[in-house]
Symmetry: C2
């Protein structure tokens, strides 16, 4: 394992990385030709995939976890009431924590300017944001609670409940229109309907659709009128999340057309539900085969194959852990400027504003996300507009009495560290953390997660990577749609299964839903310059 973070070139003390962790990293990140061979062997890659998936999930205690954020002890209530987050470690009183403001400098870029990610385009954090907004919801009134369905169910598109879903559906038994979501066509492109009219009043058809979260009250009427009626309350957050949501809405209606044509006798409801079944599974395939493979520093290409979960002891009903909710705050990946169709633009202008998307089209918007660099995840690298959000995340960890970074290393099978030098080779990180916390055992979970050096080829630091992988597999692969008696042509139709088979990445879905088929457009989370030099 390379001990030098790409950014600083300095050495990290790897003595507490753990032998097994080092060995696994060595085996999985070296020997590219061997892995390329394995990736091509249909039979072998299935076995290796199962081994890697099981190894990833069993790095932590499996569900059901004994505790939720409801209380410090297990009870029938805490084991069944899913309006609370589950948690890996019991609440802990962390004595003598620094004042929140003392941590603010950790989220200011260094005088030399931001570090750009060599690995990821802006599509990566945009997809991460849009995807996780489908199941990571924090109750604004009590940050220990959640309104999540604890599942990958495309609630960004379909809403968290039936009321929202019905408001967004075109309920019609007319041939050629069955199962569709309400959309409108502008210049040959299909869009979700707008939530507000040109005067800023809410469209009464969408009374049950949630208010976009954190929508600025003083948004100019033009930007306000560009906000879509989306199922997810955060799907309008940026022009890029709105673009991805638009793509999945178009895909839903495309699937309806395919399914209805093959099954003309089916009613509106069945066409809708079957298209949704397919759409959800296609998302899961993208999550594993594009997104997780982008995050993973391994040369092995992980497969969107649910069978490793079928007999696994980790196949238990999903329940979002509060730690998972926090570790996904990848604010430092968001750049301050982006490249839009050849022009530099401030990312701040891309929030709650779909005007450019509507004018220039989905293709150019997805192209901008794929053509702009993300920033590199880590301390001293947060865009100015997001610094307060980082501090709010730390506060959320405190509200939930999370244990220390070292405690979480331990439960995730990393040895506890004894020196700050074991987290990072960056002297700025080490010295600042030393000055703030003094003792490594005092270091908070959220701060520690992002203080770690990025290993070579990794899109995220090691502890985050481990926790994301275990949750991604144990969450995504245990989806009821992928279960043994459900994952078949009866549930999806022959045409739906075929569409699933033909879906491995966002560009597959885009190519089916862009007016020109996305010809020549490279929709990608991987920085194209990176892979070739690695």
């Amino acid at each position: 394992m390379d001990k030098r973070p790409a950014e600083t070139g300095r050495m990290r003390d790897t003595s507490h990385d753990g032998f097994r962790n080092k060995l696994e990293a060595f085996l999985l990140t070296r020997g590219r030709p061997i892995w390329s061979f394995i990736n091509e062997q249909r039979w072998l890659r299935g076995i290796v995939n199962r081994l890697i998936v099981n190894n990833a999930v069993l790095k932590a205690p499996t569900r059901p976890l004994p505790l939720s954020t409801m209380s410090g002890y297990a009870s029938w209530a805490s084991l069944t009431d899913r309006t609370w987050f589950s948690r890996y470690l019991p609440p802990k009183t962390m004595e003598g924590l620094p004042a929140l403001q003392a941590l603010a400098p950790l989220y200011v870029t260094k005088p030399g300017g931001p570090r750009l990610s060599q690995r990821s385009t802006l599509l990566f954090p945009s997809f991460a944001q849009w995807f996780t907004d489908g199941f990571l919801m924090t109750d604004g009134a009590d940050r220990r609670r959640t309104s999540t369905n604890h599942q990958i169910d495309l609630s960004q598109v379909y809403g968290l409940n039936d009321k929202v879903q019905h408001a967004l559906r075109l309920q019609s038994e007319t041939a050629g229109r069955k199962g569709r979501l309400i959309t409108e066509i502008l210049d040959g492109e299909e869009w979700a309907p707008r939530l507000f009219d040109s005067e800023g009043n809410r469209d009464p058809r969408f009374g049950d659709v949630p208010d976009p979260l954190k929508l600025p009250i003083d948004l100019p009427p033009g930007r306000r009128a560009s906000i879509f009626a989306f199922g997810g309350e955060r799907a309008n957050a940026t022009i890029f999340t709105a673009a991805i949501n638009t793509m999945f809405i178009r895909e839903h209606n495309r699937l309806c057309q395919v399914i209805e044509t093959a099954n003309p006798a089916w009613d509106d409801e069945r066409v809708f539900q079957t298209a949704r079944n397919v759409n959800i599974v296609q998302l899961i395939k993208v999550v594993v085969e594009e997104y997780i493979n982008h995050i993973s520093p391994y040369w092995f290409k992980l497969l969107g194959d649910p069978t490793p979960s079928y007999k696994a002891r980790w196949n238990r009903g999903n329940w979002i852990p509060v730690e998972f909710n926090l570790l996904y705050r990848w604010h430092s990946l968001i750049p301050e400027t982006i490249l839009w169709n050849g022009r530099e633009k401030p990312m701040a202008d891309m929030r709650f504003d779909n005007e450019l998307l509507l004018i220039e089209g989905l293709e150019i918007t997805l192209g901008a996300a794929s053509g702009s660099s993300a920033w590199s995840i880590g301390l001293f690298n947060t865009a100015a507009m997001l610094r307060d959000v980082e501090l709010a995340s730390i506060q959320q960890g405190r509200d939930n009495q999370l244990a220390s970074y070292n405690d979480y290393r331990e439960v995730m099978q990393y040895p506890r560290i004894s020196r700050f030098e074991q987290i990072s080779g960056d002297p700025d990180v080490v010295e600042t953390l030393k000055a703030i916390y003094g003792n490594v055992d005092k270091l908070e979970f959220f701060v520690g997660l992002f203080a770690e050096d990025l290993p070579e080829r990794s899109a995220v630091p090691p502890l985050i990577g481990r926790m994301v992988a275990l949750d991604a597999f144990s969450h995504a692969l245990t989806n009821p749609l992928l279960s043994p008696y459900v994952y078949n042509e009866k549930t999806f139709t022959v045409e739906g299964m075929s569409s699933i088979t033909q879906t491995a990445c966002l560009s597959d879905i885009a190519s089916r839903n862009l007016p020109g088929g996305g010809t020549g457009l490279h929709i990608t989370m991987d920085n194209p310059a990176y892979d070739s030099v690695a």
Copy 2:
């Protein structure tokens, strides 16, 4: 396998029982000395228990089942909305079904009088009724829907939700009263509070407590005043279900006392929740170690050990199947007369009437259930008061478009039958079914279930036994309280775990909660005369 039903002595055609089924029955119901030896070997019985439990559960497709009663196809809605029952087989249009009234003669006792069970006391169906009323609920307005929590959670005692629970709790931080359910002491015995006053008005403290289901409007004021404020809407149904519920309420308060004494610093909530944790697991132990062992014709004594579920591929979130809801209508076990403290009494008088329970005490009531014979389960053996209920159950099967008896044999790994003589050796059963249905493939699920002959030592017929066993294990043993990281002293306390260890049957719980400790009382589901002659 004995082909002659105990009652008729005639031969059944066993040619379609299936080789593996016959072999399993042979191995498990013969060789009593071998099984007695195995039952005594701590190490060996654990292994055998795991084999038998796995074999029992894997007789049917495992969860998640693809369909619920919501629709004939799988959708995200149908896979997640648990207000519908799950189902083993898709809806089927059964052509040419007989009129409901044509089936009425099947539920009239023969001229020779009812057949008494040689195997079971009245405590067996009383416990079955009380136990299943905790999770088998049918929506009165739509018999395809349910309000169940799909779990063994002692909702009969604690209610289906927090509102009911809070109404029934004595919320108190006073030492010596923490965690308790509201009770009152009469002549040294502890009882749940009464729901109505002597004038028949509801006690306003219990506004959130559900109305007792099917409570006769014209109930005399004295009987009405004897109805308890119970969490379960059916727990007052008979004096015996009320007695069992009372016993579990007393046990809750006893556990609170034990837990509070050991943990004086704990608050009301924690004492309550921990007592509930223990009480639920004790019920599960009784279910497996007393109730299932009573049902099972095997000589092996099944263990209330959750570990066979820990790595099992059938360990998935429970979801009550509609077939399970129906097969549990064991009305024919209920006798028309019972033996109460030496006197014969009509069972009809025991409905919605707790006066005798309050006057003569819990011990005499449990004694009456243990000292009265149940009737034998089967056709031509239903008490007059329950005949309409049998027909309503058939209608419920039709409302849910259940497939045929033969279809269910097949999915439960019994060969389909080709002649009515393969169901029963009783010519009355065979001839009547022939006359009504003509073709065995037309035979309905509910009717067929109860038409089967009772094998020797069985409390229920084979197909019911198989379906009860698979659901009992896959439901009870996957309870979150029994899961690997929860089933420990942290969740239950040392004292609670010790109480769990000391609980294997109802008489264990009774002995801790009867004023005289139940000395000399034999609380049992097994007819004492039966086991010695078998």
